[in-house]
């Protein structure tokens, strides 16, 4: 993925600022709770939601299992329809291809449809280095771009901003990029939208090159699909002379018919709409309609490696609806930036450490950025068991093990920095296989209970900094049971109870 986030601190530190920023927390809380409630309503309207979810899961799993075949079919269909297919193994290669394609048109500016894939590879920055200006045309992306900010949500990248902040950004920055905002701009939604509309329209009408991603690619027909709600996408996909689409290979679906499922689940899960306002589909090029040249850049960038992992590969089913972000209590408080990637929230916590590996501090901390509450799994329209993958990736961090990186099998060493925890787990594991030891520990704790502080030393300190510890009881349960036999007062041998090496019977 993009180097923009390299050197990020681990999640807990990155989250701290957001947790204590009241405005940010208020913005996030308001936005996520609103969309959460709306989504629940939109989903409840569909009587066969469970079946749709299962169908989506199956289509995606089937496609991923035969991805090589479907990608070849896709290439054939796109080519037959007049498009050109390019394969990019990683971000650098994708950026080089796109830069070259733009340079070949002789243009120095492009309009963009909101796309996660181009953010993932840091395309705008790469283009800028080559002297090409990329204009984001999605309203929220525009806000982020003008504010020299980073997106913090998949669907609503400026979710962390409120209206007042947006007005200030428009007023201060629009002029440098094109048509300035009116000097008397207020923070009413209609005025903000109008300012953005006028600013963007100028760009749509001028641009000769459009760059997009895609929500789906149909192997059978070579059709690409973008769903959106502002209409800016439709403009970028139809007005320019050249269209370049950068799409992750996992976005493939086998047949046109498969769209039936996702065009129902995606809008309801993401914007809580029954259907998204704009669904644009394009198949290669068509005479006298739309772009004259169409390029599809198929992006791997860690996806094939992810595919090799039996548990983790389900992350590639993701259709980027962002429902998991909106229900995640951790995301709600930590904000999107803390995840150190263009993929924040629960999906980011399992996707980034797979696409990028777990070597960096931020990537190694992401699998722990969850309380495993399961809300993300419950809402996911393609049933990605995010908690399962999180636990699986935690194992990768603390125990190491075999993974595929850049197509090669490698055996990861356990991550550093877990020594104390590993020792504690080993000690606990040792005690827990010896009830006698556990009991002795309990007794010691009970006997010294008046000496116990209500705060903890070492790694536990963070816990007791904001919570009081429970008092240790005078007698652990098992001692009480032994003393009273559960009120039966008839001590005697019992088969199951005598298992183990405690020798306490």
């Amino acid at each position: 993925m993009s180097g923009t986030y390299l050197g990020m601190p681990a999640f807990p530190e990155a989250a701290r600022d957001a947790v204590h920023d009241r405005t940010l927390r208020g913005n996030l809380r308001h936005a996520t709770h609103t969309i959460r409630a709306k989504r629940a309503k939109a989903v409840a309207e569909v009587s066969d939601w469970a079946e749709l979810r299962e169908a989506g899961r199956r289509i995606k799993d089937h496609t991923l299992l035969h991805l090589d075949r479907y990608l070849e079919q896709l290439e054939e269909s796109v080519t037959a329809a007049g498009g050109t297919v390019h394969w990019a193994a990683d971000a650098d290669e994708a950026n080089r291809i796109v830069t070259r394609l733009v340079e070949e048109t002789g243009e120095s500016e492009v309009v963009k449809v909101k796309s996660m894939a181009t953010q993932e590879i840091g395309l705008n920055e790469a283009l800028l280095e080559a002297g090409i200006r990329a204009y984001e045309t999605d309203l929220a992306e525009l806000i982020v771009q003008l504010g020299k900010d980073r997106p913090s949500h998949i669907l609503v990248p400026a979710i962390h901003r409120n209206r007042g902040e947006i007005r200030d950004i428009f007023r201060a920055e629009m002029g440098a990029w094109g048509r300035p905002a009116p000097a008397d701009l207020t923070d009413t939604p209609a005025e903000l939208a109008e300012a953005a509309r006028l600013h963007l329209r100028e760009k749509f009408l001028r641009a000769k090159v459009g760059i997009s991603g895609a929500n789906f690619m149909v192997a059978e027909t070579g059709t690409l699909v973008v769903v959106e709600s502002e209409g800016n996408g439709r403009m970028c996909l139809t007005l320019p002379e050249t269209l370049i689409s950068v799409v992750g290979i996992e976005k493939t679906v086998p047949t046109w018919r498969d769209l039936e499922v996702f065009l129902q689940t995606l809008p309801r899960s993401s914007t809580a709409e029954r259907m998204n306002p704009y669904t644009s589909m394009w198949t290669g090029t068509t005479d006298e309609d739309g772009p004259r040249a169409f390029h599809l850049v198929l992006l791997d960038n860690g996806r094939t490696d992810t595919l090799a992992d039996e548990v983790g590969r389900q992350a590639l089913r993701c259709i980027r609806c962002s429902a998991c972000l909106n229900v995640c209590p951790v995301y709600e408080r930590a904000g999107g930036h803390a995840y150190g990637s263009v993929y924040p929230g629960p999906i980011g916590a399992i996707l980034s450490p797979q696409l990028r590996g777990t070597a960096s501090e931020i990537d190694a901390s992401l699998p722990y950025a969850s309380s495993l509450c399961g809300a993300c799994y419950e809402v996911c329209p393609v049933a990605i068991d995010i908690p399962e993958v999180l636990v699986h990736l935690r194992e990768r961090v603390v125990e190491g093990g075999p993974v595929v990186r850049n197509g090669n099998k490698v055996v990861l060493k356990p991550a550093r920095g877990h020594a104390a925890e590993r020792a504690a787990m080993r000690a606990a594991g040792w005690a827990f296989t010896r009830p006698g030891v556990l009991r002795a520990g309990q007794r010691l704790a009970s006997r010294t209970r008046r000496l116990h502080p209500r705060t903890l030393p070492g790694p536990g300190r963070a816990w007791s900094a904001s919570r009081d510890l429970p008092a240790v009881p005078a007698e652990p349960f098992r001692d009480w049971w032994l003393r009273t036999r559960g009120g039966k007062n008839t001590p005697g041998p019992d088969a199951a109870g005598s298992t183990g090496e405690d020798g306490l019977k």
């Binding site: 039996e310 509450c373 594991g429 827990f432 429970p470 032994l482």
Partner: protein
């Protein structure tokens, strides 16, 4: 029916009252409950932190200790979920690692027989009115593992609804995680504390004296937050409410 109480390591060590309440409650309902002394821990903390290989001996041991019982009852939704969801998954992973079906076979007997307390009462014993008396205003926090992993649904609420004298107050945002999450509370202290504080404030807004849940781990986190935030509330495990009677009322 041979019923074993799996109290969990946390309850055994820190919350013996919950264990005594379960014994009292089940005995009152005519269940002959046993406490196998060789029990220790289901391995949830190990497993969820990524130490799957260290969890395996604990899981085997659990099966060893409890395998002969018809039902294993535990007053902890997350430990029940560990056995019911985690154990089969560990078996699958062992198979994927080329170790065959041995682990699955060892763990299989305990998986379908492990019940969370409220589930056991409602589904196995078929009771919702357990003859309890608890004259307090109570709000109920459905913990994540009980809610989503086990799908306890309204079982705990139905049990509480039938308690004499108890006034049940609706908890706003009930389904949101309290922020405990095992080692999450230690690894992400700021986010965890913020989640706990929000949960406690929601609970406080109901005017309840008691915050009730079916998992002492979440209650530890919330109880610790309550005293820190100086609320007048106290955390109480649902077992203690259900065990409370007019003759022997719990506090």
């Amino acid at each position: 029916m041979r019923v074993a109480l799996f109290l969990t390591c946390v309850n055994d060590t820190l919350y013996p009252d919950t264990g005594r309440a379960v014994v009292r409650l089940l005995t009152r309902l005519g269940v002959d409950v046993d406490f196998p002394m060789a029990q220790t821990c289901c391995g949830q903390a190990h497993y969820n932190t990524g130490y799957r290989h260290r969890t395996e001996p604990l899981a085997r041991r659990f099966s060893d200790v409890f395998g002969a019982y018809d039902a294993i009852v535990t007053p902890s939704g997350s430990c029940a979920a560990m056995v019911r969801e985690g154990y089969p998954r560990m078996g699958e992973r062992a198979r994927a690692e080329g170790r065959g079906d041995a682990l699955s076979a060892v763990l299989a007997p305990v998986v379908p027989r492990t019940y969370e307390l409220t589930e056991f009462l409602v589904d196995v014993l078929g009771v919702t009115d357990v003859g309890a008396y608890y004259p307090h205003r109570v709000t109920y926090h459905p913990t994540c593992h009980g809610l989503r992993a086990l799908g306890l649904g309204d079982r705990p609420r139905r049990l509480l609804d039938a308690v004499k004298g108890l006034e049940l107050a609706e908890l706003p945002g009930a389904e949101e995680c309290c922020g405990f999450g095992g080692t999450f509370a230690v690894k992400n202290p700021d986010v965890s504390a913020a989640m706990g504080a929000d949960k406690v404030r929601n609970a406080e807004s109901t005017g309840a004296e008691v915050l009730c849940a079916a998992d002492n781990s979440c209650l530890t986190h919330l109880g610790g937050t309550m005293t820190r935030l100086r609320t007048g509330m106290r955390p109480v495990h649902i077992a203690e409410i259900l065990a409370s009677t007019e003759e022997e009322p719990a506090l």
